[in-house]
């Protein structure tokens, strides 16, 4: 039988030369007259090891990495195609501590299967959730999702079941399922990895959502910066449709669901759900006033379930194994798992799916191995560009929605960006304001004008001009943005700014730690 060698097709692997590695392996195998099949899988998420090449052996898959095209001949000399020893050999993939310590539910198949092989998907428990859902009443599906405790993974953490129930109970001739794949937060890539590595699970999750609320049309809104994800999704949709998992008659149930990919156009604020709906309708991505909620009047004014990629991709396992199975993971009101993304200045960056409750320190050191530069870690931004900077004193708090709210921080989409001791938090605070000024949709004044004023104030603080008065002005401005903005763009930009100021006052030219308390009641998340 042909020997199977896995070379990832994930964007990170490709950006580090995986295409050349795959070609080098094919060429070398041909030269040596070896019967080898190169499978293009998703990434295992150990991104510092990419391109991570795996070989299927009787004992399991053996990993080699990071592999360059120049290593390929030597790997063959070392009989790597039979799991042979070589300096790049990492041992059995499943035994690597980084993977072994994870709880992979949503990412169970990512890196293991060929993302476009329906046979692979079915052989790894695929479409079990859908087949269970097809045998259930719509309200019972919604109940399962509610009971699982699943909350929106895009950042707002709103209970998915409640959103679905609202759509189910709103009568309409046309309803929609929309997947928010506009993953614009720096430091986040779990949506991308999932779409590139296991697109069928997202298709299955959206189909289950459609059955649950009575929708027959769905859209996946993917950012234009993700060309590989768009290509994989389009192919996967065609494969699923041809096999009867999508289309006019899903698995002979008489139920119809059509799904298509829509490409975004480089606007960060379109990750906000109402701006996304505007964009899907072909308009400028301007935030809508709520109410009405999208669940009642969403896309084209119809009831719409709009959820993040990871939320929807977590649904199949809930329907396959039951709400109780999923709910068993996690802590407090944060149930299940979150695929954390360890990024920035970190030695072993990657994707770590863990139950809620793990601490930042565990992720930074047990998984991440400290900073990439080898210097002390100074600040960690959790939850994307609108998330707070956490100093070391906060790294032992469990990663849980409520525990982070109490710290006046957010989990967001689970992105973790590490900065070493060379980082200047005043500059990063200025950047947060600048980013808001660039990306503001312009609808509300606190965000549109506030961000520009914020950059100016930060410039004066950094230049040391009239600092005490400027810092007071900055706090006043943040208060207005926090409480007066229409959405999280302006409403949460104060998180990185004020957390930087409060925890790293020295960078703002303040000698003594003049910590001013922040009001956690007004620092909540956007639903």
């Amino acid at each position: 039988m042909s020997i199977r060698i896995f070379v990832p097709r994930d964007s990170v692997a490709l950006a580090l030369g995986a295409e050349d590695v795959a070609q080098a392996i094919r060429n070398e195998a041909k030269r040596r007259k070896l019967d080898i099949t190169v499978v293009r899988n998703g990434s295992r998420g150990m991104l510092w090891l990419e391109p991570l090449v795996e070989v299927h052996t009787e004992k399991g898959r053996v990993a080699y990495g990071p592999v360059g095209p120049e290593d390929v001949a030597a790997l063959f000399d070392a009989e790597f195609h039979h799991g042979g020893q070589h300096a790049l050999c990492l041992g059995l993939t499943e035994e690597l501590a980084y993977l072994k310590k994870q709880e992979r539910l949503t990412f169970a198949r990512v890196g293991i299967t060929d993302p476009l092989s329906l046979e692979d998907y079915l052989a790894h428990d695929g479409f079990q959730g859908l087949s269970n859902a097809l045998a259930m009443q719509d309200a019972a599906i919604v109940q399962q999702v509610t009971d699982s405790g699943l909350r929106g993974r895009g950042g707002a953490a709103f209970p998915a079941g409640i959103k679905w129930k609202t759509v189910l109970n709103t009568p309409a001739a046309q309803k929609y399922i929309v997947c928010n794949a506009d993953e614009g937060d720096s430091g986040t890539f779990s949506d991308r990895m999932l779409m590139e590595g296991d697109p069928f699970v997202l298709i299955e999750g959206m189909t289950i959502a459609a059955l649950a609320v009575g929708a027959n049309r769905g859209y996946i809104y993917v950012r234009s910066e993700y060309p590989h994800a768009i290509a994989v999704l389009n192919e996967a949709i065609a494969v699923a449709r041809a096999a009867g998992y999508l289309g006019p008659d899903i698995l002979n149930s008489g139920k119809r669901f059509e799904l298509e990919v829509r490409k975004a156009a480089g606007s960060y604020v379109c990750g906000e759900e109402t701006a996304l709906l505007e964009s899907l309708e072909g308009k400028r991505g301007i935030v809508r006033a709520k109410p009405p909620l999208p669940a009642i009047a969403g896309l084209f004014g119809r009831p719409t379930v709009i959820n993040n990629v990871i939320s929807l991709a977590s649904v199949p396992i809930i329907l396959a194994k039951g709400a109780a199975f999923y709910k068993d993971y996690g802590m407090g009101r944060s149930r299940g798992t979150l695929p954390f993304q360890l990024a920035g200045n970190i030695r072993q960056g990657g994707l770590i799916e863990k139950a809620f409750g793990v601490t930042l320190r565990e992720l930074l050191y047990d998984f991440g191995g400290g900073s990439a530069s080898g210097r002390p870690i100074k600040a960690v931004q959790v939850g994307g560009p609108l998330g707070a900077y956490l100093p070391e004193s906060q790294w032992d708090t469990p990663l849980d929605y409520e525990a982070y709210t109490a710290l006046w921080a957010v989990l967001g989409h689970g992105g973790i960006v590490v900065h070493d001791d060379r980082a200047d938090l005043a500059k990063l605070a200025r950047y947060a304001m600048k980013f808001c000024a660039i990306e503001s949709c312009g609808k509300c004044t606190p965000c549109r004008i506030g961000a520009t004023r914020g950059v100016e104030v930060m410039d004066k603080i950094i230049a040391g001009q009239d600092s005490p008065a400027q810092i007071e002005l900055l706090r006043d401005l943040c208060d207005t943005m926090l409480n007066g903005s229409m959405c999280a763009m302006g409403g949460m930009t104060p998180y990185p700014v004020l957390s930087a100021l409060n925890h790293f006052p020295h960078d703002f030219g303040i000698k003594e730690s003049g910590r001013v308390k922040t009001d956690s009641a007004t620092g909540g998340q956007h639903a």
């Binding site: 490709l14 910066e225 060309p227 606007s267 309708e281 400028r284 084209f300 660039i438």
Partner: protein
């Protein structure tokens, strides 16, 4: 590059998409993919096909960072300037790239900031003409530039 474009092809692109719900963004993407940019005089045709005002179409084109109304440079180089890449020296890379590109023929390269390419664990990230590159040091940048065919 000439400002001329195939008007027949434009009409074909519009006709192929105009009956889809929310057709404007898909049409703009297809036009930009075909011609490299959205020719300003295509706005009236798009507007008329979708029963929109020209102002509405213009508003959408200029709202989104992705769309451009002038032909692209020979090579488009996007360097990620978001937090994760900043933590690994993106600022230094931008300065280096600016120096390398300064004095080149106008229109040969276009250097643009981009805010996240989703390669945040292997920063700094760069996209050159739709091809992704990770862990780009100044040395690696020079090698990439050389591979584009220009003299470095």
């Amino acid at each position: 590059m000439s400002l001329d474009y195939d008007h027949q092809q434009l009409d074909f692109i519009i006709a192929a998409q105009q009956n889809r719900p929310g057709a404007l963004l898909p049409i703009l993407h297809d036009i930009q993919d075909a011609f490299g940019y959205i020719p300003p005089d295509s706005v009236a045709r798009i507007a008329s096909a979708l029963n929109l005002s020209r102002a509405e179409v213009h508003g959408v084109i200029t709202y989104y960072h992705h769309f451009r109304t002038t032909p692209p440079a020979g090579h488009t180089i996007q360097i990620c300037c978001a937090e994760a890449c900043q933590s690994m020296g993106a600022e230094r890379l931008v300065e280096h790239a600016e120096q390398r590109i300064a004095g080149r023929k106008p229109g040969e390269y276009s250097l643009q900031p981009v805010y996240c390419l989703g390669l945040c664990a292997t920063s700094p990230a760069v996209m050159i003409d739709e091809k992704l590159h990770a862990r780009v040091t100044p040395e690696k940048f020079d090698a990439l530039l050389k591979n584009l065919g220009g003299k470095s």
